[in-house]
Symmetry: C2
Subunit: 115 residues, 2 copies
């Protein structure tokens, strides 16, 4: 029932998304590539801190860093969010199925009462 292989990756991905600054960075990278300096600009914290945040996003596969001159442009890794979404969707599917079964069960009980 539990797919153990993906657990560590899901841990890392949800943990990465559990931070407002990192979610913000992901959202902004959705608009296009950006350098570390550009990404750091809106925040009060140091450039190093933002670089570390990007490191977290990179380690869980959400973001990749390239090299262009002395900058390191960051981009969103297209299919990466799928892992998180599919876990949630699976969880919702199970819940919805159970609700359906419950409805069926209740309907049968009502039919029984009518007879």
């Amino acid at each position: 029932m539990v797919i153990t292989v993906d657990d560590e990756r899901l841990d890392a991905m949800f943990a990465a998304l559990a931070d407002r600054t990192r979610r913000d960075i992901v959202a902004r990278l959705g608009e296009g590539e950006a350098t570390v300096k550009e990404l750091a600009a809106p925040y009060a914290m140091s450039l190093q801190a933002v670089s570390q945040h990007i490191g977290v996003l990179e380690r869980c596969g959400l973001v990749s860093r390239g090299r262009h001159r002395q900058t390191r442009p960051c981009r969103l890794e297209p299919g990466a969010l799928e892992a998180a979404v599919s876990w949630i969707e699976e969880s919702r599917r199970v819940w919805a199925e159970r609700m359906d079964r419950l409805d069926t069960h209740l309907a049968r009980l009502q039919d029984g009462e009518r007879q």
Copy 2:
């Protein structure tokens, strides 16, 4: 662009899901209600630890605890996962739109070359 109101809730929700044991508990509650003792049974850790995990899930709105005799039955809070999904969907939507714009832009460039 950033909806600040929901940020704390998203923090808590993603943080809650960033733990394998808690994701497992959510998955099992999808199958139906369960008491703390039942939820704790599969794990090597103490009952208190599981109770704390449930506390985390409760605090972010994913789970609610009732009372029945001396047990405290836990159930999944139906719409709660929506918050997480909708953030991810929004992020993917932005990315997809940008890709579309890029395609359009490239198409226009090609049209220009043809003329």
